[in-house]
Symmetry: C2
C-alpha cells in the first residue's frame, strides 16, 4: 500500500517582459524569471519551498507570450486555477511577469518533456526611425529588407537537418539534429515577423536563423547561401546572432492541451 | 514686389510613446512632445527658434503612431527629407519620439487645417492577468467583454450628431456637432481594438466613447442605451473617460498626402 501523493502538480502559462531579467534560469548574480516565480509560489503556500520546471529556458532579454512551467504545490494548500493565478499575480505585482492560466496535471506530466512543439516569433522593426513604443521589444534594422528573398531563404531551413551552423558554442544538446516544422516571414507595415516552430530548438537557433535571414534581406547574401551555410555544419558559416529584444517564446504545444478549458 | 520667402515649411510624421509626457502641448510644468520637438528643431538650425503646429493635440499619456506637425525652417538651412529626419532623430535620441517622414509643403499648408480626417485606435487588454509587455500601452479590463454588443452599440454613434454627451467639460470647440465616419470594434486574441475616424473629434471624445462601449461590453448597459446617452446631450448621460494608456493617434488624412512618396 502506497501513501497518497501529498503534492498536486500544476501547469502554468506565463507571460513576461524579459528586458530586466538575466533570463529564465536562476543565476548567481541578477534576477531571473524562475527566481521571482518560485519565490511568489513559495510565499503563496506559507514559505514552503517550490521548484519549477520549464518548457523553454529563455535567454536574458528574451520575452515570453506563453511560457509553460510545472510546479508541485502541497495538496493542503487547496488551490484552484483561480486562486493560483490570482495569488501568484498578487506576489508578482512588482515584476513584469503574469500568470495567464493554471491547470492541474498528473504527477508524471512535464512542462519540458511532455511538450510536442515550441513556437517562437521574432519582431524586426524595419525602418530608418528609432523605435519608441516598441523599444526593447524589436530588433531595429534600418536598411530596407527584401522580404521575398527572406521567405525563399527560410524554406531551405525547413525539415530535418544538422543545425550545427546555427547552434551556440555553449549549446549542451547531445544531438545537433532538429526538425524545423515552420519558418515563415511576414510583413505588417514597418514590422517583419519571423515565426519558427519545432519539437525543440538548439541554443540560440532561432536568433542565429534570424541573424542569417537578415543578411539575405539586406542583399549581403543570396537566398541560396543559406543552404551552403547549413551544409557546412560550422557556426562561422552562418550569420550573426540576432539580439534578444525581438524574440518571443510564443507558445508550447501539448497533446492534450492542459489549458484547453482554462482560457478567458 | 515682394521678398521671396525666407522659410521652407515642412510636414513631419511623428511617432511617440506618450507615457512620460504631459501631452503634446507645452505646459508650464512637465515635459511636452511639442517642447522636445521644437527644441530639437531649433538645435538643428543653430539655435534659431522654431514653432510647430500639430494636427491633433494629444493628452497626457496618449501615444501617437502617425502624428503630423508642420514647422517653418530657415531656407538657408538647406534641409532635405533625409537630413531633417536624421538630424531631428539625433537631437531626440534621449526621448521616445521618432520622426517617421518629412516632406516640404507650401507656406499655406497646415498640419491642422489641411487635415481631412483623423484616425485613432484604442487598445483594451481583456483578460484577468495584468499586462507585462504592453504595460502603459493598453487599458486593462478584467471582466470578459461582449464584443458583438460593443460592435452593435458602436453603430449607433456613426454619422453626424451633437456629441455633447461625449465631450470633456474643458472642450473649447464652438460647435459640438461632429461626423463620425468610422467606429469599429475588433478582437485579436486577448486584445480588443476600437478604431475611430472623423474629420475632427471633440476633446476626450474617443476616450468617452470607449468608456461607454466598455459599459456595454460588461453588460452594465444594453447596446441601445448608447442612443439615449447620445440624445441626452449631457456628459453625465454617457460612460466614464477611458484612461489615456490605450489611446493612439494613428494617422491624419490629407489630400494630397504630403508623405505619399517619402515612406520607406
Amino acid at each position: 500500500m502506497t501513501d497518497p501523493p501529498t503534492y498536486q502538480r500544476w501547469a502554468l502559462k506565463i507571460e513576461y517582459d524579459g528586458s530586466g531579467f538575466v533570463g529564465w534560469q536562476r543565476q548567481a548574480h541578477g534576477l531571473s524569471v524562475q527566481q521571482v516565480l518560485e519565490e511568489a509560489a513559495s510565499r503563496l503556500v506559507g514559505g514552503h519551498p517550490i521548484n519549477s520546471v520549464t518548457a523553454g529556458r529563455t535567454d536574458a532579454g528574451v520575452h515570453a507570450l506563453g511560457q509553460v512551467a510545472h510546479l508541485d504545490f502541497p495538496l493542503n494548500a487547496r488551490l484552484t486555477p483561480h486562486t493560483l493565478c490570482e495569488g501568484l499575480g498578487f506576489y508578482l505585482t512588482s515584476y513584469p511577469v503574469s500568470i495567464l492560466a493554471a491547470a492541474p496535471v498528473s504527477p508524471t506530466w512535464s512542462a519540458r518533456f511532455s511538450a510536442t512543439w515550441r513556437a517562437y516569433c521574432y519582431r524586426i522593426l524595419n525602418r530608418r526611425a528609432r523605435p519608441t513604443l516598441t523599444k526593447g521589444r524589436v530588433w531595429h534594422v534600418k536598411p530596407l529588407l527584401n522580404v521575398a528573398h527572406m521567405q525563399q531563404a527560410a524554406t531551405y531551413l525547413l525539415g530535418r537537418h544538422d543545425f550545427t551552423s546555427f547552434r551556440a558554442a555553449a549549446c549542451q544538446a547531445r544531438n545537433p539534429l532538429r526538425t524545423l516544422d515552420q519558418l515563415t516571414v511576414t510583413q505588417h507595415n514597418d514590422e517583419i515577423i519571423i515565426t519558427a516552430q519545432a519539437r525543440s530548438f538548439l541554443h540560440h537557433q532561432v536568433r542565429n536563423m534570424v541573424g542569417t535571414l537578415k543578411l539575405v534581406g539586406t542583399g549581403q547574401w543570396e537566398p541560396e547561401r543559406v543552404t551552403t551555410a547549413l551544409a557546412a555544419c560550422d557556426r562561422s558559416a552562418a550569420g550573426p546572432t540576432a539580439p534578444p529584444d525581438g524574440l518571443y517564446l510564443k507558445n508550447i504545444g501539448y497533446i492534450p492541451d492542459p489549458f484547453a478549458s482554462t482560457h478567458i
